[in-house]
């Protein structure tokens, strides 16, 4: 198993009565709430936490992308990744952004990721995401074009990295006379690609066919993940191979305390800050953003199996919306669930909501020292590396 420290970089200083006056933390949440005095130190503090993950022996760190919200303050994950390339030597840097449809032309993404790959000595994992529903409001990008733009931008970026330039690209959305990306990435043929999903079969088939890695969008009930990862494994089987554990990433809030009681006492307030203040608005689903079938499925599960429906600590425990407890408890819960999930990449959110830095660091340290080694032993890394990713599976078949 590979271990990643994932950061959202949230806004920690919302007023206590925020949710009485605001029903969303996204798109329309007034930026007058940003307090420059309090918030200016966030970025360096959060970057320090990710650097600390390297010292603690994590395999990688993850940054992600969101816009116009208080939940995650990284509109440009590439900027944070750039800082991390200079502050770390060993860890993988997984960028679970760039929301491709938001960038026109998307060759800019190909350029920046290639820069980062060189700056990091080939440590970049290139997430490629459709972007959350709220981002379509914040950018006025037509959500009915989200999937088309994503697959077209994906193709353009993968060609920019792998196909000799200059070449011409004429898609429905992007028309570029000369594609000729300098620099090229250090990792050849391209940095590994991760793609997150909420469980739609279209996305899983897309990922499985190209042998990319799939990452479940978090904050669902554990049963929802079990179903999702089961479906992903089936999608790989349909492509004629068995899913490699490192093709599956599991993202979860994790808190390790000295004892179960202490863990809950230290963690709970930050969970409720996260759930009550930062989550509302995250599930905005603009029209046309997914197929109708997917929209119906998500609509129903958000109602029954999503963090927004969590009201009590018992709900948190029952659905494993966060893994919280003593080192033994956290180990046992993760081991038990992952026995069925089979994920080879564990992505932990160790700082959640308004959790202060010292608490987040102590949490990471306890996890790294007392949980990580046991999980590593329980889920040893596969002897074979993950399958070679194939950006253009149909063309390979044709060439063969």
């Amino acid at each position: 198993m590979k271990f990643f420290a994932f950061h959202l970089m949230p806004y920690r200083d919302l007023p206590d009565d925020f949710e009485e006056h605001h029903d969303t933390a996204w798109v329309w949440v007034p930026n007058e709430l940003w307090d420059p005095e309090k918030a200016s130190g966030y970025y360096n503090e959060y970057i320090d936490q990710l650097v600390y993950a390297e010292e603690l022996g994590f395999d990688g760190v993850c940054v992600n992308e969101h816009h116009q919200n208080v939940y995650g303050l990284m509109p440009s994950p590439n900027l944070i990744a750039a800082a991390l390339t200079q502050r770390t030597q060993r860890v993988k840097i997984a960028i679970v952004g760039n929301a491709l449809p938001l960038y026109d032309p998307p060759t800019r993404v190909a350029e920046e990721i290639a820069m980062l790959d060189n700056m990091s000595g080939g440590r970049i994992i290139a997430g490629q995401v459709v972007g959350g529903g709220p981002e379509y409001y914040s950018f006025s990008i037509n959500p009915a074009q989200a999937r088309n733009r994503f697959s077209e931008a994906h193709e353009l970026i993968m060609r920019a990295w792998t196909q000799p330039g200059p070449f011409e690209f004429y898609g429905e959305h992007y028309k570029i006379r000369y594609v000729n990306t300098w620099p090229r990435p250090l990792q050849q043929p391209h940095p590994p690609v991760w793609i997150p999903g909420v469980g739609s079969l279209e996305t899983m088939d897309f990922v499985a066919k190209r042998r990319y890695a799939y990452m479940g969008i978090p904050y669902f009930h554990i049963d929802f993940f079990k179903k999702t990862y089961g479906l992903f494994k089936q999608a790989c089987e349909r492509q004629g191979y068995e899913a490699h554990p490192e093709q599956m990433g599991l993202l979860m809030p994790i808190y390790v305390g000295e004892t179960d009681d202490q863990a809950r006492a230290e963690f709970e307030e930050h969970f409720w800050y996260f759930k009550r203040k930062l989550i509302p608005g995250l599930t905005l689903a603009p029209p046309g953003y997914t197929s109708i079938q997917s929209a119906l499925r998500v609509f129903r599960s958000v109602d029954r199996q999503f963090i927004s429906g969590v009201e009590s600590w018992e709900d948190v425990e029952r659905g494993t919306y966060a893994v919280v407890g003593s080192p033994d408890t956290v180990y046992e819960k993760l081991a038990e669930h992952n026995q069925e999930l089979g994920a080879g990449n564990l992505l932990g959110l160790f700082q959640l909501g308004n959790m202060p830095g010292d608490k987040a660091r102590a949490n990471m340290a306890r996890f790294a020292e007392q949980v990580m080694p046991r999980l590593a032993e329980r889920f040893p890394n596969a002897s074979e590396p993950p399958p070679q990713q194939v950006a253009f599976p149909d063309e390979q078949l044709a060439a063969a």
Binding site: W28, Y136, Y137, S140, I141, N142, P143, A144, Q145, T283, L284, A285, P286, P287, G288, I292, A295, L296, F299, D303
Partner: protein, 269 residues
């Protein structure tokens, strides 16, 4: 009224049709009310053959993948007019449908006889913001009703904008399809075509604009601006009426529309 399928410009679409007399093309709003045959339509059908197609992407109408903007929808209805052999036809449109009607009448002025536009989107009046219908989300249905109706407790408000969680899969899918089809042409620029304003002076159709006094989606100044831009246009403002004008004040809409359309028939005779 009967609902059937027909092929228009290679797209298989549903069309509601009823009544007798000279044809009237009715273009529905984002609510997709064509197939519901509102009281206004049955009233007009007393002396007109009302033809009310569901736009591509609404109900069971197919072909949304080749609709990219509002001009494509105008072309779609030009194809319908050709298929029906109408050299000229009267057109009525509500909200989104009114926008399509204007795009038709501005591009092919000779093809549109008389026009009735109810609470139409299509242009942008600076400093008079339109409400964001795409921000009406789960759990906010009451806000949506308050935006769309003068009286949010109007008996039809809850039918027009139901609590989404209470819908069965089929009705919810229809709602999601309607919103997606609307977003496809109206997300950005929001509910308008920046080119339309410059084309409207070409409209030759005698045009009636009907507006709800309390319209918060497309406030009355939009009707006033259209009355300036369309050469032969008259604005009627209905009191105690919001954006869902066909539902909230059907009698007022029917009388105004019928009077306007009959005046055209009388002139032709």
């Amino acid at each position: 009224m009967e609902v059937g399928f027909e092929e228009i410009a290679g797209r298989r679409v549903q069309v509601a049709e009823g009544g007798s007399g000279p044809p009237l093309l009715y273009l529905h709003s984002a609510a997709g009310e064509a197939l519901v045959w509102l009281d206004v339509l049955s009233g007009l059908a007393e002396d007109r053959t009302v033809v009310a197609p569901a736009h591509p992407g609404f109900w069971q109408s197919e072909g949304l993948e080749t609709i990219h903007d509002i001009e494509d929808l105008a072309n779609h209805y030009l194809a319908l007019m050709d298929a029906r052999g109408w050299e000229q036809v009267d057109v009525m449109g509500s909200s989104l449908g009114g926008w399509i009607a204007m795009e038709l009448a501005a591009r092919w002025p000779e093809r549109v006889g008389r026009m009735v536009l109810a609470a139409s989107v299509g242009i942008r009046v600076p400093d008079v913001p339109m409400a964001d219908v795409f921000a009406m989300t789960l759990g906010k249905e009451e806000d949506a009703r308050a935006l769309s109706f003068h009286d949010p407790h109007h008996p039809l408000a809850k039918i027009a904008i139901p609590d989404l969680m209470s819908l069965n899969d089929e009705d919810l899918a229809n709602f999601l399809r309607a919103m997606a089809a609307t977003a496809k042409v109206a997300w950005n620029p929001y509910m308008h075509d920046p080119r339309l304003e410059g084309m409207l002076p070409r409209v030759s159709a005698d045009t009636l604009l009907i507006w709800g006094r309390s319209d918060k989606v497309v406030p009355v100044p939009y009707g006033e601006r259209l009355a300036e831009l369309i050469p032969q246009a008259r604005l009627v403002v209905v009191e105690e009426c919001g954006h869902s004008i066909m539902l909230e004040q059907p009698q007022a809409v029917l009388e105004a529309a019928r009077g306007h359309l009959r005046a055209g028939a009388a002139a032709a005779a």
